[in-house]
Amino acid sequence: MTVVSVLTFAMLGVGVLLALVRLALGPSLLDRVVATDALLVIISAGLAVYAALTRNPTVVPVLVVVSLLGFVGSVSVARYIGGMLLESAADGQDTPTGGARP
């Protein structure tokens, strides 16, 4: 039981940390949107794991709210970026190092 809880929370924590690193590094805004989405999902998964391991259903309504908020957030940011989209110069695709050409 304790082994399962330690293992589960360790994997979730490492996943959150890696998503945070991508959130800090992410060369473009869309990388950050994807990282934030994954971050919210992992956090809600952690809440569900806590509820399951302690048999404590108090946080279950929070899961519903978080899952809907994550969707609204990523969709609104994507629409915002789409609204300010301009045709970029030449064939400006991402460079192999990961950064976007201006």
């Binding site: 039981m1 304790t2 399962v4 293992l7 589960t8 929370f9 994997m11 979730l12 490492v14 996943g15 959150v16 890696l18 998503a19 690193v21 991508r22 473009s28 869309l30 990388d31 949107v33 994807v34 990282a35 989405d37 994954a38 999902v41 992992i42 809600s44 998964a45 569900a48 794991v49 509820a51 399951a52 391991l53 302690t54 048999r55 259903p57 279950v60 309504p61 899961l63 519903v64 899952s67 809907l68 994550g70 969707f71 990523s74 969709v75 994507a78 629409r79 970026i81 789409g82 609204g83 989209l85 301009l86 045709e87 970029s88 064939d91 695709q93 991402d94 192999p96 990961g98 976007a100």
Partner: protein
């Protein structure tokens, strides 16, 4: 923490462990993959399979119909909303050219008819790139 007392608890633990492992792989893929589309491919794994597994595990561990229905609601929301947000993000990523074209095997959007002139869609961003020409 209660002790493990039945086979159902063991199944629930297995579901929780696999779901947490999927979250870990999502973090790894987000960090290591080269562009937005492949990062999204990695990042959406816990959004569907991981959340479904963790909800099944929680529903086995927790008792009570209201809790079960709420967990089912969360899983249904995830299944409904993950494709929509992924479609939006990937469409904008393709148009902003945050795509490594040298890594694509097939680019069906790029080999279509001429996309250079006029409006291409119904979004504000699809308008003429140099209006008033």
């Amino acid at each position: 923490m209660n002790d493990v007392d039945s086979v159902a608890d063991v199944i629930a633990m297995a579901c929780l462990l696999v779901g947490a492992f999927l979250c870990l792989t999502a973090g790894l893929g987000l960090l290591r993959f080269p562009d937005v589309l492949s990062r999204m491919h990695a990042g959406t794994k816990p959004q569907t399979v991981g959340v479904l597994l963790i909800m099944v595990g929680s529903a086995i561990r927790l008792t009570g119909w209201s809790v079960t229905w709420m967990l089912l609601l969360v899983a249904a929301f995830q299944l409904l909303t993950a494709p929509v947000s992924a479609h939006l993000v990937s469409r904008i990523a393709y148009r902003r050219r945050h795509v490594r074209r040298d890594l694509l095997l097939v680019d069906e959007l790029g080999s279509g008819p001429d996309r250079s002139g006029g409006a291409r869609g119904d979004e504000p961003a699809d308008g003429d790139p140099q209006p008033g020409r």
